[in-house]
Symmetry: C2
Subunit: 424 residues, 2 copies
Amino acid sequence: MTLSRLIVTSGANIRVILKWGCVLVPMSACIGTLCAIFLWLLDQVTACRIAHPGLLWLLPLAGVAVGLAYHGFGRCAEGGNNLIIDQIHEPGGGVPLRMAPLVLVSTVISHLFGASVGREGTAVQIGGSLASGFGRLFRLEPHEVRIVLTSGIAAGFGAVFGTPIAGAIFALEVLSIGQINYRPLLPAAFSSIFADWVCHSWGIHHTSYRVTFGGAPDWGGSVFHMNPILLAKVGVAAVCFGLASLLFAESVHRLTPVIRRTCPVAWLRPAIGGVLTIALVHCVGSRDYLGLGVVAATQDGASIVNFFHTGDYTWSWLYKLLFTVAVLATGYKGGEVTPLFFIGAGLGNTLSGLLGVPVDLLASVGFVAVFAGAANTPLACTFMGIELFGATNIVYIATGCFVAYLCSGHSGIYLSQRVRVAKH
Amino acid sequence: MTLSRLIVTSGANIRVILKWGCVLVPMSACIGTLCAIFLWLLDQVTACRIAHPGLLWLLPLAGVAVGLAYHGFGRCAEGGNNLIIDQIHEPGGGVPLRMAPLVLVSTVISHLFGASVGREGTAVQIGGSLASGFGRLFRLEPHEVRIVLTSGIAAGFGAVFGTPIAGAIFALEVLSIGQINYRPLLPAAFSSIFADWVCHSWGIHHTSYRVTFGGAPDWGGSVFHMNPILLAKVGVAAVCFGLASLLFAESVHRLTPVIRRTCPVAWLRPAIGGVLTIALVHCVGSRDYLGLGVVAATQDGASIVNFFHTGDYTWSWLYKLLFTVAVLATGYKGGEVTPLFFIGAGLGNTLSGLLGVPVDLLASVGFVAVFAGAANTPLACTFMGIELFGATNIVYIATGCFVAYLCSGHSGIYLSQRVRVAKH
């Protein structure tokens, strides 16, 4: 390479970097800020819901209000995560800007009245919607729109969970099953890291999970990062995690058309989910499965944090699955990832006793593995496990995610995901 | 899914698992054992080389002996890593079994007499050659041969560096630029984890690197996993790491045809590399750049371990590059990865002073980033950084690997790698 060519190339590269900086810095700052507002609101409404248990009775009404809001103003924003994934595969009409405020307010309302929904759908939709807006503002070409939308997903995901590298890889992995494309790798990583930092700078702190397990000693007493007997047990548990992902995704996919046939008026459907939730609370006899479920209202209540200790949570994972399927199939907003963390950590807690595996290890593996199976994102979930629980148990975490991915079938929770390479 | 269909599917799945277990368990055990023997031999010959400095004078002769061995018995084994990658893309004649002993003995001889070569080429070739043998033994179909060869690469890489998850992802990533295919994910992870464990069980311990940096405090004094000023500095360093990868790969690719024209007799060429190495030792005035370079012969000598502390190592990275290019372009065996670790950690050490970044942080980022750029394997190198240095600095490690990958051009050290998605 001659010197003149080097200078020309460097000049062009600097222009490209500046252009992308102008798009991604303000975009990630906005997404990080909205995620911070969203997480702060979630904390407030969760505290309010716990303080006023009677709010649950209004859940069907709240659901109908959200349904009406989407009916009146939503237009194609109803498409949610799937619309964003579709727009990345085939850039077309874009993602409407109204999606961000609509999903934010709807999710906060769902949580206030106790719907068992998550956070990632909202964060991804805030990210995708703002990214599409910035794409239009800067008149980007279709191949650039793909990159900016992927970066928007990464920014939303990274900021809402406080796991920037998992956010970047999630955005790449979620588009297709069995294959990833590295083209948006750096913009996605930059957006995710920057949005996570902005969210942190607003004073938002993420829950930290305590995994004390540091490796099983072998025959000689020395500790290595892999013990074959323990790994075999984790592998067996991971098959269960994958089947739980399959059960979850299939339940949502099969219940949705049934609800549609039962109630042809879209905005009325959430009322069914609300009534089902109230019925489930009375059948199960616990309010632990309402809302996010990261921290419980009572000291020993079923919650993600408590699943890292021993306790009597045998069927918690299944109850959470029922609560979540009931509201997602009837149109509540928020997403499924935090409930999947709950189901995974809860199932890990239950299996740890049966298999003789340290409870914190199997709760942490389940936490990411059920999500890996349901979203078909094994590498992002491995990174997430590392970012949340440290690198010590990386072999078990990766095995959990890879095996669950392989056992969860091809449908997954995102219907717009394309099957590029069959799993088996 | 009906119960009968579930039973039939489960039966088929169990048969598939048993079949792959029969192939992968003995294969990974053999690869892990050969890697253990190889690492043990490397330790012995390195100690012997340091104890007998005069051996260096015999390096040209040793190189010719290796050249003659390949000339007499090598046949297509000369193709090395590229032959294995080609056989995965288009399964055909397979990889000869003789490749494993030939490359093992040749690499050990190269190290005994002081050639600046690595270990990964040898490990990957042991893995690929044994995997191909097992593929023939079990009469696998072409699509299964692809999976078993990829698993062989993963097993060799995972065992030789003690980084099983990086080994699995490396095997997937090294085949193509810009895209990975998840089909062999689980077999590769299983083989890598199992081979690493077998290698460990033979009593092999890997060098541990000490990174004490745990995050830079922000304005308020609190420590977060990302500090924007520090990240910007790491980004600048990562561009240099990427350019170092480019310089390394281009130097090997450009010097090789010059050597070929100068010396048409293939087995004689290593003599040139041997003489060049002796000349370089006298020009530079140091023997620190011979062999692996993980640990130095003297307390403050240039070595990967010492680059994690401050010291006067300004041009060490460039010297190592010259020593390595000289022997790789003239046909010595062993691979380029450990020298790339040396170049990266050394350049990180040098840049840490210029940029005001903690030396252990930038040495650890450089360690994996130069390799990420040269091999076009950003995710595997991020996992490697996590497995070697822990999860604390994951944002800096990932940024280093992703930026270096983007800045290193499309040629890389593996010529059989196919460009699936251009980097920019």
